[in-house]
């Protein structure tokens, strides 16, 4: 897919299921915004338009989150981001500024596609990591502290993301 050639074709999503899920999700969001739903005279066109755009802009690869994976991922993610926040607070508030940054490269075990992107964005909220570049399955990561056991840590996050998307990790 070349840059800019991304066509907005409305029905590129995988069938009716995806459309329905989105329709329900956006209707829910509308109800949340309007506090109990109301103004459907604007709401219905907005929800339908949002659904069409969401389907039209979507990458041709179809993916789904597994409901159980989501349930398992959320508490893990919240806990890890809390750890990330505490870790960074400790460093930023400490008078000596205890950081030992490093740029490391990590070859992803996740298959190419949305799960890799999701992983790259997720680790920005986890302790000490910031993704700098994702290129063909190689992720360049900036670490706040090179001393962290990052390889094991990242592998664990990858397992979680794989569980969320229902994909298999590559064997090394």
């Amino acid at each position: 897919m070349r840059r800019g050639k991304r066509e907005i074709s409305i029905f590129s999503g995988k069938g009716l299921y995806g459309a329905l899920v989105r329709l329900v999700a956006f209707s829910l969001l509308w109800a949340v915004l309007t506090q109990g739903g109301g103004g459907w005279i604007i709401g219905v066109p907005a929800v339908v338009l949002a659904t069409f755009l969401s389907l039209g802009l979507h990458a041709p690869i179809s993916w789904r989150w597994r409901p159980m994976g989501v349930l398992r991922f959320i508490p893990y993610f919240l806990w890890q981001s809390l750890r990330g926040g505490i870790d960074v607070s400790r460093r930023a508030l400490h008078p000596k500024l205890p950081i030992d940054p490093a740029v490391v490269h990590h070859t992803l075990l996740l298959p190419p596609g949305p799960s890799q992107v999701f992983f790259a964005n997720t680790i920005n909220l986890l302790p000490g990591t910031l993704s700098a570049d994702l290129h063909e399955g190689h992720l360049t990561i900036h670490m706040l502290d090179a001393g962290l056991e990052y390889v094991m840590e990242l592998k664990r996050v990858e397992e979680r993301v794989a569980d969320l998307f229902g994909v298999e990790l590559k064997r090394r």
Binding site: M1, R2, R3, G4, L33, L134, H135, E136
Partner: protein
Amino acid sequence: MTMSEFYFGYALFLLLTVAISLIRVLRGPTSGDRMLSAQLFGTSGVGILLLLGRGMEMPALWDVALVFALLAAVAAVAFVQRVWKSGEQKEAKSDAS
């Protein structure tokens, strides 16, 4: 101390943290640093708006905060796409990055 005093004091505190990050806008050194501080403005703005909305009894401010949160990334995207050119101008052929 009344409850709304607490909210206003909190909002004042957030405004002061914003003032701290302003120093980074002025100092730089790279444009990324400045942009980052501007982004912190937007996110702290969300907090300030929520607190003021509670303290001033203006629920409409929640909507302003929602817009702040929704559009926080737009300026950053404009920045990385158009200002901070990474030298390369050619069309890249892969979208894997």
